[in-house]
Amino acid sequence: MLDLVSHLGLGFSTALSPINLFLAFVGCMVGTLIGVLPGVGPIATIAMLMPLTLKVDPTGALIMLAGIYYGAQYGGSTTAILVNIPGEITAVVTTLDGHAMAKKGEAGIALGIAAIGSFFAGTVSTMIIAAIGAPLTRLALVFGPAEYFALMVLGLGLAIVLARGSVLKAVIMVVFGLLLATVGTDLETGQERLTLGIAELSDGVDFAVLAMGVFGIAEILRNIERPETRGVEMGRIGRLLPSREDLRRSFGPIVRATGIGAVLGILPGNGAVLGPFASYALEKKLAADPSRFGKGAIEGVAGPESANNAGAQTAFIPLLTLGIPPNAVMALMVGAMTIHGLIPGPLIMTKHPTLFWGMIASMWIGNLMLLVINLPLIGVWVRLLKVPYRLMFPTILLFCCIGIYSINNNPADVYFTAFFGLVGYVLIKLGLEPAPMLLGFVLGRLMEEKLRQALALSEGSFMTFIERPIAGILLVVALAVMVIAVLPAVRKGREEAFQE
């Protein structure tokens, strides 16, 4: 306990330094700004804004990126409530009751309770991260390559189970991602693999390039097909502070959602995305009068929004302690850390304690900032929505281009981004969700490295994965999870769960 206090003390003294405060502030602001734009989710936002952090020291860069991430999440909810456009997938549930509240003239209260719930959830999850960060890191340090490999297999298995839509398609995308990860020079023999003789590919496919193409550019390609939705109707925002009655109604949902969101957020793949859906379903079941839901029930905003924020934050746990990114956003964080010469994993905490704890403390500060800066700025965000898409998409495109070019100062990266944009577009058209691919891609390299290390240690015997108890158990669980997912009974239940 004393440890925790001194660690958090170190964190706050880092995060509260003027420069880091400024970076957190800028991150939250631009994150919200971009997050408000429809069709630009958190992944594209972070990929696009990554260059902003190139010249900052690693701690500051990660603080800023984390700010961008929360900002993007928050921006998505704002538009969900005000104009019924979920800025990103986790805000989809919020549109149901949030926008209904806005129609009743209670937009301000919906925004207010979303902010309050998020802040509460953020505070709790920050404490969770701080509390279990250290023990998990110690656990991770005793993990050998075999355990790591098994853990990542389990991670991918869970990601597949939690993915939306067909299990088969999710498996396909994960395997595709793993295959993409093998492109480049072989780690041990230095042989070029699947590079087509292209020199730029000898270091493998760049993660930022892939993410920007598949999420940033492909989104634009898809959005221009749809006719522009004009005339954003905006009612009165009204007062922002919820009444005592509103707070009383929301308290339970916020607490429950924080728990659900925090647990689901740690899980790989769609975990953080499922939180809001799960919370909404739960509150609807618990409600004395479920028919109020969908017509502006404040519980339907308070719960999902809290779950959303809790999940967004606990998703950092696997990344910071084990070095395994649980989802695409965290994978981008890996990319950002690598650019700054940091290798995510258990050593981050022991070798860079100011970075680790500073980032955790800044999460809380970022949440507070969002609460304070966003509510007064709602008018600005709404005006932003009125910018026509014909001006918006060329701008987003230019930002993407400059961003990608700046990472390595190499025009080839720009061409690859265009190529992966096309790939992403084709995948979406074929009903293949690109998110699991990105996860497979990120884990792919790590997995191959650990697999070969483990086999080198065991002199080529695959028995090592069974003989080592932890690795064996993890693999068995992974197998069980996959088998359960394809069982007909569970499959039906799963489909129903995603229907809601």
């Binding site: 295959l179 550019i217 898409y389 998409f393 060329p394 495109l397 281009c401 720009v414 009903g431």
Partner: protein, 152 residues
Amino acid sequence: MSRMTSRQDFIGGLVVIAVAGFALWLAGDLPSGTSGGIGPGTLPKGLAALLGLLGVLLVATSVAKEGSPLERWSIRGPAIILGAVVAFGLTVRPLGLVVAGPLSILVAALAGEEVRWRETTLFGVLMTGFCIGLFKFALGLPVPLAPWLLGY
């Protein structure tokens, strides 16, 4: 094709099989493994084979079930947008951001439903100015501005 076929999955499966085949062909001459470990070719080949298998499975299941039809594809919009990105890549080094910025915005704007030349040109120039201020001066990123004019 019968009405019971999910065309989207059917074609998706074929694409997956094609990708897997391509990867298998590329990985063909990589050594597959040595005693005491796995070689550089093991994983690419294994994964490609697995991917192909999954593709076959997708095709097989698509025939047996009803599913989404193929979405409408457009070629013009995506081609123009990707063209704008490529145009940026081609011009940024030799001509700098001063040219690449407005050019990519102008090309991209062609993808819209209506093209307003004056508005777009003005907007492209202003936006480029903003980007130069932000990325070049405020952030100090080494994006070339106008090498032919300024030397950087």
